[in-house]
Symmetry: C2
Subunit: 175 residues, 2 copies
Amino acid sequence: MRVIGLDPGLRLTGWGVIEVEGCRLRHVANGTLRSDATRDLAQRLVQLKDGMEAVLRDFLPDEAAVEETLANKNPASTLKLGMARGVALLVPALLGLPVTQYLPMIVKKSVVGTGHAKKEQVAMMMQHLLPGAVNLSPDAADALAVAVCHAHNLSTRRSWLAGREDPLIGGRDVR
Amino acid sequence: MRVIGLDPGLRLTGWGVIEVEGCRLRHVANGTLRSDATRDLAQRLVQLKDGMEAVLRDFLPDEAAVEETLANKNPASTLKLGMARGVALLVPALLGLPVTQYLPMIVKKSVVGTGHAKKEQVAMMMQHLLPGAVNLSPDAADALAVAVCHAHNLSTRRSWLAGREDPLIGGRDVR
């Protein structure tokens, strides 16, 4: 199964696609989408939508996982983050993919083992877990981490459904 | 020329379409789009997108005007508002329409004459200015008001370009 992780932001949106086979994970591709800050807001959202759509069509993931970054202290930035997150939830849903959101703390706990891991630790762990993922941008590393977190969550759910263990990592329902 | 006004919100998004002929305004249609709060967030954004797309295809406006409601005190609500506003900016832009945002104060000043007008005053003024607009929901009244504000702004711009007067009502560029 293929999972795409998205770390949405109006200026930069990270994305990362992994292949999940049971407990084995394989890096497929990653990158960063940029919107042109000199364009108007509506056009920047169109750029993000077009970029995400192209990635989804190129790599055909089966499920999407989106980082649920907490609101910023600056309300104007929170509005912009909301717009970018809205596009990141909307575009995969329009193509029929299930979309799950994960809080950054849950992602860090899942991939590094502690909810307070630093950005560099997350990037290092991604390069360790996914050998093909080199020269990662911070946003692409975060996006791959969300995808890995979703893969862990899926496998934990499967184990739980099979009655073997309790689910340790909780994905937030997107409500 | 046809203008659609949008008052975006995740739960309720008001819309209103008017016909602008020189200084004359005519009501075409209005309504409220609802997203189902029991669905997940991605699906609610899909519902808003589908609803807006249907309205745009039914009434074929030439330009869109979106109310730029200020951020809420509650960061979680601000994020949701950002998502709904993102969809309201994205959908008309995807269909090639120019999109302008207006602050609520500018809309009220334009349609009632004071930036501190109450919601009921805006609704009453809409029914006065646009005789066909009856039984307006609060969100549809606000959406029609944004459309009327855009029409005023366009005619002021035209007069200004013709060297007759200074622009009094400023539309915010969507950046």
